[in-house]
Every structure is written in C-alpha cells, then in structure tokens.
Amino acid sequence: MNAMSNRRGANQWAVAWRRFRRNKSGIIGGVIVLFFITIAIVGPYLAPYPPRSYAPLYQGDAGQPPSLKHPFGVEESGIDVFSEVIDGTRNDLYVGLAASLLTTLIGIAIGAFAGYFEGIVSEVLLGLTQIFFVFPALLLILLFARVFSILVFKGLGLTLIVLILSFFGWSGISFIVRGETLRVKQMEFVQAARSLGAGSMRILFRHIVPNILSPVIVIATLGIAGFILTEVAVSFLGFGDANTPTWGLLLNEGFPYIRTEWWVSLFPGLAVVLCVLGFNLMGDGLSDALNPRLRE
C-alpha cells in the first residue's frame, strides 16, 4: 500500500479529497454541478427574457422551434424556453439543496437519538422512522401540495414545497444515521469520553456525529438528485407553483403540445437529466472516496 503522506498529519478528509480527485466520475459530476450552480447564480442576468415573460408572443414568435434567436424554442404561450430553463435552474437547485439539507438535519437528529438512547425513546423514534419510510411519498406529497395551494393565499411557493418534500423524505437518512450511531456507539473512544465525564448530548454531537458523517454526506448528495426529480414530477403533474419557473413546470406546459412543439419537452428534460446526473456522479465519487474498499 502507498505510504501515508509524511509531510503533515493526513486527516480523513484530506485523504478522502485526494481519493476523490482521482475518481473520474466524481470529478465529472463535480464539474457538472459547478456548472449548474454557476448558471443558477449568474444565469438570470444573462437570460434574454425575464422569468415568465410573454414578450416573444408580442414579437410574433410564439410557438417557434429552436432558432438562433430562441435556442430552445418558444412555447405556445410565448414564453422563451431558453430563459425559462436558466431561470428554473436556480429554483430547482434551491429545492434540491434545501430539501436535502433539511432532511439531513432532521434525519441526523432523529436517527442519532434513536440509535444512541435505549428504551422507549429509541423504539418510538425507530417506529416513527419506519412508518414514514413506507408511506407512498409521492402520493402524499401531491395531495398535500394541492391542498396547501388552495388554502394558502399566495400560492404554494418553493419553500412550502421544500417543507412538504422534507416532511416525507427524512426517513431514509434517519435509518442510516441510526445504524451508524449504533455502530459507533460501541467504539472505545465513546466509552473513554464517558469515563472522562462527558454527558450524553456532548458525546452524541461532539464525538459520534462527526464520525458518521461520511455515509451521510453521500446520501445527502444523492438526495439532492432525488429531490430534484421529485419536484420535477410534482410540477409536471401540475401540483407545483404555477408562477415560479421550474423545469417541471416547463414540462407541464409543454405536455399538451408534445406532438407539435417537442422542444418544450426536450430541453427542460435534458437540463434535469444533466443536473441530476451531475449530483449522482458526484455522490458516487464521494462514496468511493469516503468509504474505501481497497483491493490488494
């Protein structure tokens, strides 16, 4: 095996980073993700048309196929697809990242408690996790989204979507965290900390959680991909926010016209595929880097 770096102490993150750098798919994924993040930040300033703008309609360009002026074509209603895809990037990334972050936090909280404490607390939390895990998530998300969009005055809004997605999406991480907590709990350094007088919360958050971060990071990254896909499905079916440009919304608007205006369905979809692919590849790369399965 290669000798460890002699220069300075190589902590696990440095080692993992070095391994990640050598992982081809991880790097490709990382590049793609960076690309989309860049678009999310600067794109809206460069987009030819403002979000949800019908300007092309007045220019007589409604329903036009892709051209130099409208690289991704124009919708029947006059919305420029190219601008919308760019504007949507920011929103979809927001949903994906926010939902993943939220579910990770919830998952860590519940999972760590479930794994660390014994007795009734643990049982109840575990049961709760299991119940939520088996829910038909998409159905309930759609239902909740529809009801809330009727009841909430200013429409659904991205944040509410994030909350609904998170409400039904935290159980997966929670399971993993619980499993890892159980595993780490019996390691000697935990006993050592306890013998030095550390209290439960301190042990949990200072000692155990940092040691279970590796698989959690991987799942969180892959989770971003999953949440984006879920949001796209929700918006496509018409249950998302009709005033916020998202890729799913575009697919929804393009669906009645797939026969005649295929570009409205193609390009937003490609954006989704590429973005999700990026996160998936990055997640894979992280997985390989953080969980070494060394051969020979």
């Binding site: 088996v134 009801v147 499905a233 079916l237 697919l251 193609l266 595929v273 998936n280």
Partner: protein
Amino acid sequence: MIRRLLFMIPVFLGVAILTFLIGNAAGNPINLIRLGLRNPNPAVLDALRRYYHLDVPVYERFVFWLWDLMHGNLGVSISGRPVASQIWSWAWTTMELQIISLFLAIGIGIPIGIYSAKNQYSKADYVITSVAVFGFSMPTFWLGIILIIIFSYDLGWLPSSGAAGISFAWWGNPVLDQIAHLILPVAVLTYVGLATIVRLVRANMLDVLRQDYILAARASGLSDRRVTYRYALRNAISPIVTIIGLGFGASLAGAPATETTFSWPGLGYAFTQAASNLDIPLVQGITIVITIMVLIANLVTDIVYATLDPRVRID
C-alpha cells in the same frame, strides 16, 4: 412473522390519519371539495355529508371513516359514482404495468449486473454502468414523453396513450392491441428499473466475488458457472431483494407521473385527476389502496429475504 404483520398496522394507521387530516384541512372535506369545484352536485354533497358524519366531532369522524374503510365503503366520488367499485379495475390496470416491468427489469437486469461485475474495468462494464447512471438520473415520465414523440408521433409505430385502442385495434386484434399499448410504458418503467437493479447487482456481486469463500469454491474445482450463480449470486441476492421490494413500492407510489404521461387508466392516473379536482373521497380511497399494495409488497419482500438468508429467520 407476527411482528411484521403487527407492524403494518401502525403504518396503515399513520397513512390513514394523514389522509384524513389533510382532507379536513379546510375544516371538513366538504369545504375542501367546494373550494375545488365550482358547481358541486347537491345530491352528491348530501351523500358525502352523511358519509363523513359531519355532525360529530373530529375524532369520532375519524373512527367512523376508518370503520367504513375497513368494510370497503370508500364513499362516493364527486362524480357520484362509488369509489370502491372503480378502484378495482384501476388497480388491476396499474398492476399489469408494474408487474410486467418488474419481471422484465429483474430478468434482464440481474444477468447484466453479473456480467458487469465479472468483467470489471472492461469496456462493456463502462458502457453498462454509464447507461445505468443515465437511467436513474432521468425522470421516468420524461423518458416516456421522448419515446412518445419519437415512436408515436414521428414514426407512428406505437400508440401514444391509453391501455387499449378506442376506435380501432392496433396491429389487428385485441390481444396484439393490448401489447402494442403496453410496449412504451413498459419500456420506460423497465429501463429505469433496470438502471437501479444493474447497479445494485454489480455492486453486490463485486463485494461477494472478493470473498474468500468464492476463492475456496473455485479452489475446490467447481465450475465458473456454478460458482457465479449458486455461490456468488446466492449470497449477493439478499440485499438486492430488499431494495427491489422497496423500489417496487416506490414505483407503485410513483405511478401518477408515468401513468399520466401515457394516459394509462390506472390508480396513478386516477389519483392525479382526483387530486386536481379535489375529489377528496376518491383521493383518500386511492391513497389507502396504494398503501395497502405497498405494504403487501414489503411483506412479500421480507418473506423472500428470510427464505434466502439463513442468518435472518422470520421471528
């Protein structure tokens, strides 16, 4: 075994509670329906008022509703037709699609995954893993849309919607007609299912093939075929079964998107329409039914898993 069955109860209750609660988000389901529908049919509304027992407090309403549920009374949809009677044929249609795709995905996915694992780092392996990653990075329904554009509209080879031809039968007779309608949706579901299965099988097989007992099996003179299937696969299959089972459940839950794309008259499509119209009784009914289907799928998965892995016995 008992424990597993017992566990299904709180899950079912959990979904029931959530579904019930959201139905009452506007105070009671009737209010909600009214918000969605401009001109509700007064007779239907009356029937629903009685069904939901609006004259009693919330918790009692829940018990009544649950009671009705268990006895198969799912109320009337706002169209006036009883929910329960329609669900059966929808469920059947959904299962037709899901089960065929599941078997295809497993039947094709496992051999490909094995091949990929045994030939790690080869060109074929790279191609397979790349195609697989694409497969589960795309929204299922979007693939459906693209295929419809290509095969239905551009080429005209396959029908674009429905489970059976309305005005004429594709390809000549009713049986072929059904098959023709199945091809695109099944292709889409199978591809996405394949992607997950291939990756899973590949990863698990790689792990197992590294183990000493595989080396020992080879060292005992067993043929490669024997070692791969009877020894390696047999060990790798357990976690795969679990994930396939869970994935099937998720697929059932995700039916709305795919079915809507193909106008496939199953539970998912019905759900989407119902939810759009705020047809609360219908929505609640379908949710419950799908949840039951998912629970059954999970139970079957657990049983199969225990059969395969002697270290885990049904308690």
